[in-house]
Symmetry: C2
Subunit: 219 residues, 2 copies
């Protein structure tokens, strides 16, 4: 079963994402004009990436597709790099929640299935492929990809930290490294071997890091 990109239109605007010059937070209520514009621009960015790749995606083409004035896009995001980073983060935010079930195995499985959802969605897959492909020749694209990764990895640190605090993982476990091992086999399938990522694949990736993590391999 293939997951689909879900519009982030119902998400509230994150305070950290409010740019200088935007209306004060009180007026940017969920579902308001600002949130609607953001959703439209994020969706348009992902569609442009999916159809045309990173190089041929421009702030102008995104604005036209989103049906907003290009100065609106420039004012808020300033560069294509920031636009693409935020769009990718929005995909991941919607599809990869940060779980806290109290069960480490289940938390890791949920994370792995979230990564799978991004990689198997039409738009997420295309965006990741476009970026990984572009990153091999463009330092700018490589930076977007690294920024995206750094952002995602930071958010999942609490899952590992809670497990360490509870004694479910050894002291000193490197959360970032563990997360990379969770994601790498799933990326490898779509990027290198050209295989789909099934739920069973996601679950295996979660089990591998659970077993290795408990054995202290990520300390």
């Amino acid at each position: 079963m293939q997951s689909r990109w879900r519009s982030p239109v119902s998400q509230s605007v994150r305070p950290g994402a409010t740019p200088p010059g935007a209306k004060p937070p009180g007026t940017a209520r969920p579902g308001g004009r600002t949130a609607q514009n953001r959703a439209a621009v994020v969706g348009a960015t992902l569609s442009e990436l999916a159809e045309h790749g990173y190089e041929r995606t421009t702030v102008e083409s995104v604005a036209i597709r989103a049906g907003v004035h290009k100065t609106t896009v420039y004012r808020r995001w300033r560069t294509k790099e920031r636009l693409v980073t935020e769009a990718l983060e929005a995909t991941a935010e919607v599809q990869i929640g940060v779980p806290d079930t109290g069960d480490l195995a289940l938390d890791l499985q949920t994370l792995a299935r979230g990564v799978r959802s991004v990689l198997m969605s039409t738009v997420g897959s295309a965006a990741v492929r476009a970026l990984v492909s572009g990153a091999q020749s463009s330092p700018e694209v490589a930076r977007v990809l690294r920024t995206f990764w750094a952002g995602r990895l930071t958010k999942v640190i609490p899952v590992v930290e809670r497990a360490v605090a509870d004694g479910r993982l050894p002291q000193g476990t490197d959360a970032i490294e563990l997360m990379k091992y969770l994601a790498a086999p799933l990326f490898h399938r779509i990027l290198v071997t050209g295989e789909p990522v099934t739920e069973a694949d996601a679950d295996r990736a979660a089990t591998v890091v659970l077993v290795a993590g408990r054995a202290g391999v990520f300390v």
Copy 2:
């Protein structure tokens, strides 16, 4: 320390690689004209891939670089696809031996370090990047990459099969899946996070699959 591409000039020609129309095997002795041509063409293919990427590498440009007539290249390899596949396999053959030390942990470490050598060598890294990048938009490149992988994975099956026979890994362990897990975190570093692959990274990848393999995760 960065590994370097070593010329396969001293390698004998594998029987399976002898095309129809080539001289009979008895005349293709190691170090002879055929082996020299093969080494030159393989080296030229890797250099072309590294400098120009898959799309702009042609049988003609490889022949010029190798200093052989293009009909020689066409007669033996017929298509760019076969040429690139064999060139990549030659890199991996030289740099990833199939170890048999009697110690599973050491065998896996040797394999992981071999993958690292390919990924960190100037030419191997460029070739892998060019292919992974190209595979995202070209079905032909994707096929080259899959063929290369299938070939490599088949060769390391014995390492896992011996371990299963000896009871060092559980019955039914999937050798192919285990090898993918060994390689994936190393590919992820160079392709996605843009980090170098150190020996410590290779050793960690080996330990992760050893621990997970023993726990029966690849059954």
